[in-house]
Symmetry: C2
Subunit: 334 residues, 2 copies
Amino acid sequence: MPWRLFGLATVTAFALNATQAVADPLSSWNDGPAKRSIIEFVAKVSAPESPDYVPPAERIAVFDNDGTLWAEQPLYFQLLFAFDRVRALASDHPEWKDTQPFKAVLEGDLDTALSGGDQALLEIILATHAGMTTAEFSAIASDWLKTAKHPVSGRLFTEMVYQPMLDLLEYLRTNGFKTYITSGGGIELIRVFAEDVYGIPPEQVIGSSLKVQYEYRDGNPALVRLPEIDFVDDKAGKPVAINHHIGRRPIAAFGNSDGDLQMLQWTCAGDGARLCVYVHHTDAEREWAYDRNSHIGRLDVGLDQALQNDWTVVDMASDWKYVFPIFDMNHENR
Amino acid sequence: MPWRLFGLATVTAFALNATQAVADPLSSWNDGPAKRSIIEFVAKVSAPESPDYVPPAERIAVFDNDGTLWAEQPLYFQLLFAFDRVRALASDHPEWKDTQPFKAVLEGDLDTALSGGDQALLEIILATHAGMTTAEFSAIASDWLKTAKHPVSGRLFTEMVYQPMLDLLEYLRTNGFKTYITSGGGIELIRVFAEDVYGIPPEQVIGSSLKVQYEYRDGNPALVRLPEIDFVDDKAGKPVAINHHIGRRPIAAFGNSDGDLQMLQWTCAGDGARLCVYVHHTDAEREWAYDRNSHIGRLDVGLDQALQNDWTVVDMASDWKYVFPIFDMNHENR
């Protein structure tokens, strides 16, 4: 489809969208069991006369980020950021030309870089994410997000977010929910764009973190990022971090991988009405299709537990009218 | 003064209070430089036409708890809680009868118990605050707060809060501020009463913490408190924790001791209008008077920096019309 024509189709689709929005706050979702389960849950916890009514202060909803709010293929976007930082910092580190995993990154040989496993990735993260103040890091991440392009779509990473999830966040907030991110990704990276892109302020972002030290730099107090892991907000770490930051058990949780399983278990084991949702990547045309055997965002044990426990499983291919806000990976589908 | 007469005087004082409240949201504060500096700051950051205007999302105010929002004499209330727990758990720990510092606590010999210093206190905290789930700990702390009495006043600990600070919290929130606690005390203990007493929800409480582990107990997911320090939210830890939980630099900070100094430095080193306030315990009649030489809540370096930097120093004796909400330590003053 020529771009001009695609543009026209997009405008028409958006106009229709806007017209329907009053009637249907989840107009980017197709009617189906996933959409119905979400709407039924929200209705029963927010209607004052409902036996399942929950006061607004306790309407806490938590969202994984990678693969749940934005894409995570072909690699977690934060790793792509780290690789770009290795290239940007290479001139200060001549030794990287001969040291793995940096050598492989500089040579564009990602298979070799990734073959070092978690230890190699940790080395790359610590070498690129520490040593600066929190303010400096935010500026670096912000610049990257404004310019770096996704290797497959060629779009900004902040355009690789899911329109149905943006609508869902807004729908929940309209119904008195407080929406949180709880990500295995870095808390400070997500905070850079979460308010603009998701409407989620920094104090509602939970994530993995490095240790930070208060010190004076050039006569002013500064918070300096140390090359040392503070907390990994993944798997069993997620309910722990939720308790630490929020101090309440959520009543709704949204994830897409086994890394979110404990967060969903913890959420849905609470009393009263609960909603646990897995986003299932089933759409090879408009996004990616992967689950039990994926090296990224593996959904295996979690999928079994979802089926056993009657959690909501979103089938991206059939439940989502659109995937991305401005474009779909395969434009013909729009 | 006989109690009946005291009661009458109280009712009259409260009635006057209620009448004045519309005109003066800080009616529990005497007019003076401290009150004026607070009101001027709030006016200039919240008036849209002001050159110092700050959008509501960035109006973050952080408060120390011990000695700033509630009293901390003759000992931090959390230590009194821990001592009560030692007594409650003694029958399960026959070895404590012969082991310091537990032996001294059980014998009511607090001088000896405290003579072991931080290490002894840490042992007592870990022995009394860990091993149960977070829900069990909250229930224990809640029961204690409902029944335990302050050793000097004979009042509930939740009555040992400062009326002028309660009014200040409310005044700030009315003007679009988000109010946070950032305490050296335990985050989970403060969360038990902060919402009811201070109007501060659990997600806006920051404090020291033990490590917590997600596990299954009796077939259900549980968060279990481990006998291991996770984070000490004191001194240089305070700005670090503020950044971790909030992700924004506060524009106003309130403390009473050298333990709050880095939090005040960090807050007031930011751009634009800032308010840093030390509550100075000067009132031996109605509360306690202590600063540079106190073993609890020492205010020494902080007081010098406050004077140097023109921070606001609240003189409790002259700036506060009342100290506690229902009573003053010395009833004659009311």
